[in-house]
Structure formats: C-alpha cells, structure tokens
C-alpha cells in the first residue's frame, strides 16, 4: 500500500518538474502535497501529516494569490518569458542533465550505508516523555519540552519571514476598504456554504490546539487551521479591514512571551517548584504558538493579496 502511494508521489513530482504552465504546476503541487500527507500518515506520523496538509493549503493559496495578481493565471501563461520558451522542444539539450542526475543517483545508492537504524533516542523518549514533560503525545512533548530551544528559533523563523515579507512588499497601508469584489461575492451558494463551514473550521482549529498534548495536532497545525478561516473570510467578503500593523505588533509580543515562558519553565525548571500539573505548560505553550502562527499566516496572506495596493 505504502509503495503505491510513494510511486504516486514520485509521479506527481515528475509531473510538476516537466510542466511549463504555471497554473497546472500549482494544481499538481496541491495534489503532490495531498499524496505526501497521506504517505506521512502511513509512516505513523499524523502530526506531520496534519501540518503538511495545512501548509499545502497555504502554499497553494500563496502561489495562486501571488501569480494571479502579477502574472495572470490564464491557461496559456508559461513560467518563462517567450524568448526562452522557444527552444524547449530541443530534446538533445535534455540529455546531459538527465545523464548527470542519473549518475548522481546511482552513485548515491551505491554509498547508502547498510547499517540498520539505531533506536537509542527513540527508546529513551518513548519511555521517559510522560515523566519528564507530560502529556500523551510524545511528538508534542519533544517539540515543546526536550527540544524547545529549536522551537524558539522556528518561531523566530516565522517572525523573520513575516518582517521580510512586509519589508519587501512595498506599501504599508493595507487596512483600506477598496478593490473590486470577487466573483464569489455574488455566488450565493458559495457564500452560504462557506458561512456554514467557517465555524466548523474555527472549532477544529481550537480543538487541535487544545488537545495538542494528548492527540495529534498542536499549536502550529491548529494555528494554520484557524488562519485558513481568515482566508475563507477574504474569499467571501473581499475586504481589507484587518489591521496588519497591529497584528504584527501582537505577533512580536507573543514571540517575546513564548521565549520568556520557555525560559521560565524549561531552562530554569519552574515546573518542579510550582504545584501545577505539567499539562498546563503544554497547553499554554500550544495556545501561544497557535496564536502566533495564526497571526503570522494572516499577515503573510494579506500582504500577498494587498501587494502594491495603495
């Protein structure tokens, strides 16, 4: 079963690599992410699968939003300028790169070590996580407990990504109610259905965040689900009433709080002094990270759609 899906995965990648139309590439990318998500689930990694699914939604939306505004997404738009698209048909040009890649692939396989996987840390984590950090989801325990130092930088990465997106997209003022309403706005069926679905999405996101320590999910996945609620909201109403500057500020403050919380609980070891159950730390941290991810993805999304809108 897993081999079938992995083969599909490879086929999806091949389709993406040899496609030259932007819109098809994006659709294939969505399919590819779906297949990889299923594969992750089959590898026994539901957390990663949820994260990948949430992220694939967002990367597809980013791609579509960004290319629709700037390149246009009519069916014929190629990913290169017309001059360089001309000599694509020449098959001979493809032989050297193919040969080179196959050579590297064979060389790589030749050197793959034969040793079986060493499971030292796996055994340690599985036997110790509920004592050391608490919770029932060992992935969340590692993510927020043992390796919280990594998580701090990961949150920092999101922050850096956001400030760079806001810096590189030119105009700061986005909370303006203008721009032509999307066609969906007039599609009554779509508006109604999305209105029905939105609370469910919001609820699902909150469920993922709050139950992150006992079931698959966590701050990041839940945050992404909540942020997709805002994407739907944009799809229905097409308004720009989100105060971006204020959300950026909120995000920075949340980041500081996350760092301080991690320092207090993990670095100093506060939980050994306080009579609190360990899950309090996990839930608080998940909530904060969820809020941060929601803010971050909303900011990136709105910067993409409001790029160069004065």
């Amino acid at each position: 079963m897993i081999y079938a899906f992995l083969t599909l995965w490879i086929v999806g990648a091949l389709l993406i690599i040899r496609e030259s139309k932007i819109i098809r590439m994006i659709i294939y990318l969505g399919i590819f992410s779906l297949i990889s998500s299923v594969c992750f689930y089959m590898f026994g990694a539901p957390d990663v699968a949820i994260a990948e699914a949430a992220i694939s939604v967002f990367s597809t939306v980013f791609f579509i939003v960004c290319f629709e505004k700037h390149f246009g997404l009519a069916v014929g738009v190629s990913d290169v300028t017309p001059e360089s698209a001309e000599n694509r048909t020449n098959l001979k040009k493809y032989i050297p790169p193919v040969v080179f890649t196959i050579f590297l692939f064979v060389l790589f396989i030749f050197f793959i070590p034969e040793n079986p996987a060493n499971s030292y840390l796996k055994d340690q984590y599985l036997s110790l996580f509920s004592r050391d950090v608490g919770g029932e989801n060992s992935v969340t325990s590692i993510y927020l407990g043992y390796r919280v130092y990594d998580t701090l930088f990961e949150a920092l990465m999101l922050l850096v990504g956001i400030v760079s997106v806001t810096h590189l997209s030119r105009y700061c003022e986005t909370s303006v109610k203008e721009g032509k309403p999307s066609d969906i706005n007039r599609a009554d069926i779509a508006v109604f259905t999305i209105r029905v679905i939105c609370p469910v999405m919001l609820l699902f996101g909150i469920y993922l965040i709050l139950n992150g320590h006992i079931s698959p999910g966590g701050g990041f996945q839940g945050g992404a689900a909540i942020a997709s609620f805002f994407v739907c909201r944009y799809m229905i109403y097409d308004i720009y009433d989100i105060p971006i500057e204020r959300i950026i500020m909120v995000e920075k403050i949340i980041y500081v709080v996350v760092v301080l919380l991690a320092v207090l609980f993990i670095f100093i070891g506060l939980h050994s002094f306080l009579p609190l159950p360990q899950s309090v730390y996990l839930i608080t941290m998940n909530l904060l990270i969820g809020a941060k991810v929601t803010c971050g993805l909303i900011i990136i999304f709105y910067r993409f759609i409001a790029f160069e809108r004065r």
């Binding site: 083969t7 992750f40 590898f43 290169v80 599985l126 509920s130």
Partner: protein, 115 residues
C-alpha cells in the same frame, strides 16, 4: 548492497528535484523544486525505522516495537514551518523582482539586474 527500498523513494525524489534545479530556466520552477527537495528530505526522516503496520507514537506507554520514532516527527514539523517561511520569502522576492525587472527567468533577471 542491502538497504530499505523505502529509502530509495526519497533519494529518487531528491534527485528529481535536483534535476528540476539544474534544468529550470524559470525562477518559479526553482522555488517549486526546492519545495520538492524539502519534501524528499522530510519523507526520508519519517521513513527512518519504518516497519509495516507502524503506529503513531501517542499514548502513555506505547509499545516500543511497533511505534514510529517520535523524534524525526518533531524535527520535521520544525522543518515544514521553516520551509513555508522560506517559500513565502522566495515568492515575495520573486514578485518584487518581476515588478521591477519584468523577468520571470534567471537569465533575463540577471541581464536586467546588471543594468
């Protein structure tokens, strides 16, 4: 040579995306290829210690034998978030470059940026 077949898929994917990198004229496809490359590495990490009928590592005292390794999963969530941040930054650079130089492919971007 004895190795897991499952590993080969990620290696194959790694080099498919490498092929995409060394042949793509367009910047968009390079961005997508990097996405694929990340996906290959993520799949490799998750396939470490795979046996058939593997279970998610959730529950108070999971059976060590049939349970997936939790550490790569925690690492890969981090990697996925980093990936999406990099993609967002790449895309916004791509748009800015396109607006300034009207260049979708590497050669044109190079030529226009040198002026």
């Amino acid at each position: 040579m004895v190795f897991d077949i499952i590993e080969i898929f990620s290696v194959l994917m790694f080099f498919i995306s490498f092929y995409g990198l060394i042949t793509s004229k367009s910047i968009i496809k390079s961005v997508v290829s990097i996405l694929l490359m990340e996906s290959a590495v993520i799949m490799f990490f998750l396939s470490i210690g795979y046996t058939s009928g593997i279970m998610p590592p959730i529950g108070q005292n999971p059976e060590t034998e049939t349970v997936a390794d939790p550490l790569p999963q925690a690492l890969m969530i981090t990697a996925i978030i980093i990936g999406v941040a990099v993609v967002a930054v790449n895309l916004i650079m791509l748009i800015s470059l396109y607006r300034q130089c009207k260049a979708k492919d590497w050669d044109a971007a190079k030529k226009k940026s040198m002026e």
